[in-house]
């Protein structure tokens, strides 16, 4: 080692170059976490009490009672399914033009900004806030829930459609342009085949989300199974509530399984 060249050492360059900043961030994070956990107040008496209450709560769920409130359960489920399907279909139909306009490689700059604006606004508010808003506008009932879910679907589906179009293979698109195809033909032959499988999968995924959300928007007055669930809690009919929860879990599981299956199949 003493004779000839010195050994050339190598170390992976750190992600953050500045050592003060690098170590500062670690120390800062450690201090914050220590303080955060240190100031968390846990009242163990209350926790114990809560456990007992929880036990009573759970035992009140059993056995679930499907029978005595079956009519309203059935009505709620049908209403939720109606909301789910209509809002998914309408939301997707409306999101297609918005999504096309929000794809940078398709639309002119002003159109792009306008459509991105629509998407940003409809994605800012979660479904439950939209539902509260529409209930205030149009009164209680599934129509408000339908509107909330539709707007949510536009934001979700439009954004993902736009991103998928932006990621498409430009060479395939160029080839269809080079044969002299019109704009609509170009969309149909060059863009649609590239984005379709993913969009079918996302459509079914959104159907799944909308059903679960339909239970949530019902709680703020948007109709559907959520309203039925809330009523049964208000009446302290925990056995009926348990039945409703089981029905929701069942439907979500069926939707989840089918959507996974269809998504694999369309690839």
């Amino acid at each position: 080692m003493s004779q000839g060249d010195a050994i050339r050492r190598w170390k992976r360059p750190p992600f953050i170059q500045n050592p003060t900043l690098r170590w500062g961030l670690w120390v800062g994070a450690a201090i914050y976490l220590a303080l955060a956990f240190g100031t968390m107040e846990v009242n163990w008496d209350r926790v114990a009490e809560g456990m007992v209450r929880g036990e009573r709560f759970v035992s009140a769920f059993f056995p679930p009672d499907f029978v005595s409130r079956w009519d309203s359960i059935q009505e709620g489920i049908l209403e939720s399914l109606w909301m789910t399907i209509t809002s998914t279909v309408i939301g997707i139909i409306l999101s297609v033009p918005v999504g096309l306009g929000a794809a940078r490689n398709l639309a002119y700059r002003p159109v792009y900004l306008f459509c991105r604006g629509i998407l940003a606004v409809s994605r800012t508010f979660p479904e439950i806030i939209l539902a509260i808003f529409f209930v205030k506008l149009f009164g209680f009932g599934p129509f408000a829930g339908f509107l909330a879910l539709s707007v949510g679907t536009i934001g979700f589906y439009g954004k993902l459609l736009a991103e998928d179009i932006e990621d498409m293979d430009p060479v395939q698109a160029e080839a269809i342009k080079s044969v002299g195809a019109g704009w609509l033909q170009w969309l149909n032959y060059a863009v649609q085949p590239q984005v379709m499988p993913r969009m079918i999968g996302l459509g079914i995924y959104r159907l799944d989300i909308n059903f679960r959300e339909s239970a949530v928007v019902g709680i703020v007055g948007g109709g559907g199974i959520g309203a039925t669930l809330l009523t049964s809690f208000d009446r302290y009919e925990f056995d009926s509530a348990a039945a409703i929860l089981l029905v929701i879990i069942g439907i979500v599981m069926v939707l989840e399984y089918t959507s996974g299956y269809i998504r694999r199949w369309v690839q």
Partner: protein, 276 residues
């Protein structure tokens, strides 16, 4: 058939891709455009069908001036120019038949194309072309199930079903193995001969260019530095196009092997695709 006058292209990034290019390609001539990467070969053929907008200059297809056409006229003009791409550029999730028929999009209305109700004459022509390249039994396969050589054949069918006057071919063999490359080049040249098409073939493989084209144009930094028959490509010319290198081997090889290899490759095609 194609006449380019004082064509100039400067990209927004400042790259001066084409400098005052003048070129004329008569009917039925297959012209190979050679040059190093970045010489402007791709830009040149994309300026012709306006996938890239030329900065200045004129481009005539027959009597029609292309560089200043409005969008509807441009669509009509594009139907007369078939393009073949380096990475085949087939729409992967469409079937072979749909890819070939997409070459007719400039001729049929939206709803007909949307419902895939192409005129019977188009469908007949598509089957003829697919048979010509030996793929008619694959019509309903999805394009992404095909091998590279097969995909490029479909690409050729898509360009030819346009019934073009001019073929623009961008590095047709860059993604293919040497044997398939020759088969594809031979196919393109034969079809141009049969249909009396003018063609510009961008190709970086000097050997292939010399083997198949009767006219070679060398592009270097956006300017034409050689225009003549393949026999006159000598070390000085190649040095001018590509830079200093030992070119003797490249040229020798073509002279010795050119014809032998040609026959050998032909025999191979016969083996792979026995006449049915």
């Amino acid at each position: 058939m194609l006449r380019i006058e004082h064509l100039d292209k400067q990209y927004k990034t400042g790259d001066h891709a084409l400098k005052d290019v003048n070129l004329e390609v008569p009917k039925g001539q297959v012209m190979a455009l050679i040059g190093p990467s970045g010489a402007g070969k791709s830009t040149l053929i994309r300026c012709v069908n306006r996938l890239v907008e030329p900065t200045s200059g004129k481009i005539f297809l027959g009597d029609l001036e292309l560089a200043h056409l409005g969008s509807t006229d441009l669509r009509h003009a594009r139907t007369r120019m078939g393009m073949i791409f380096q990475e085949y550029a087939l729409v992967e999730r469409l079937s072979v038949m749909e890819n070939v028929l997409s070459g007719r999009l400039g001729y049929v209305g939206f709803w007909r194309s949307f419902f895939r109700k192409f005129p019977q004459s188009d469908i007949d022509e598509a089957f003829n072309l697919l048979q010509r390249v030996g793929l008619d039994h694959m019509a309903d396969k999805r394009a992404d199930e095909l091998s590279g050589g097969q995909r490029q054949r479909v690409g050729i069918c898509r360009a030819l079903i346009q019934n073009p006057d001019l073929l623009l071919v961008d590095e047709p063999t860059a993604s293919l193995d040497p044997k398939t490359s020759r088969q594809i080049m031979r196919l393109i040249c034969e079809l141009c001969e049969e249909r009396q098409l003018a063609a510009i073939i961008n190709i970086h493989d000097v050997l292939l260019a010399q083997m198949f084209a009767r006219r070679i144009v060398g592009l270097q930094l956006g300017s034409i530095v050689y225009d003549g028959p393949p026999e006159n490509l000598n070390p000085e010319v190649l040095t001018q196009i590509y830079g200093e290198e030992d070119w003797e081997a490249t040229i020798e090889k073509v002279k010795e092997e050119g014809e032998e290899l040609d026959t050998a490759a032909l025999l191979n095609i016969a083996k792979v695709h026995p006449p049915s």
